[in-house]
């Protein structure tokens, strides 16, 4: 896929690095997003759902004493 949607000819706002230390348009910022998006998996492993259920069940028992 080509980057046809980018009509900017290289003159992005690089000077504003003080206000924006990351540089929202920088290559680093884009890669960072890409890296992180890959880590965010919507499916939650059973391990965690089970854990929360256990914590929930333990709750009333804890209150008795």
């Amino acid at each position: 896929m080509s980057k046809k949607d980018e009509h900017v000819s290289g003159a992005t706002h690089q000077r504003s690095s003080n206000a924006d230390p990351l540089g929202t348009n920088s290559e680093i910022a884009r890669k960072l997003k890409q890296y992180y998006d890959e880590l965010v998996v919507d499916e939650v492993p059973d391990r965690f759902a089970d854990l929360l259920s256990q914590l929930e069940k333990a709750e009333p028992a804890r209150k008795k004493d």
Partner: protein
Amino acid sequence: MAVSVAFKTDLLGAIPSLRAFAVSLSQNADKADDLVQETLVKAWDKHQSFQPGTNLKAWLFTILRNEFYSQMRKRGREVQDSDGLMTARLAVHPSQHGQLDLKDFRAALEKLPEDQREAIILIGASGFSYEEAAEICDCAIGTIKSRVSRARTRLQEILQISGEADFGPDSIASQVMGSSAA
């Protein structure tokens, strides 16, 4: 007071973000899930200290981060150092085509000091403001800004890319279009 159903639902909903942050911090999927588990237990135990209406995700990230650093302290630096040696052996080469490979990026990120890595992740990926990130890391906003800035510079050095706008195929394409499209 019993933990509300809404709280449990919110915890479940936050798990994908927590796992992503945990992997970014620990650079290890197994360690990351242990961190998330510990975070959930801690969050459950002290749910009363959470003020409804405030940012639950930031609250959870704070717990996870504290847990990560306390585990690191317990374990000592030895493990970290050997991890560092391992990653140092993975050479990072800039791609021939100027397109930065995600694998290279991951290796470069791993080389950053923890404080810089977490700062650039919180700001650039997890979607927190500088104010929120400062609160999560228990430091000044200016500190977060300088860590992000240093992280970015360091990543650019490791990956050998300049901070200026990248001139990719676009500039060539526009030349071609300029000369032949008339």
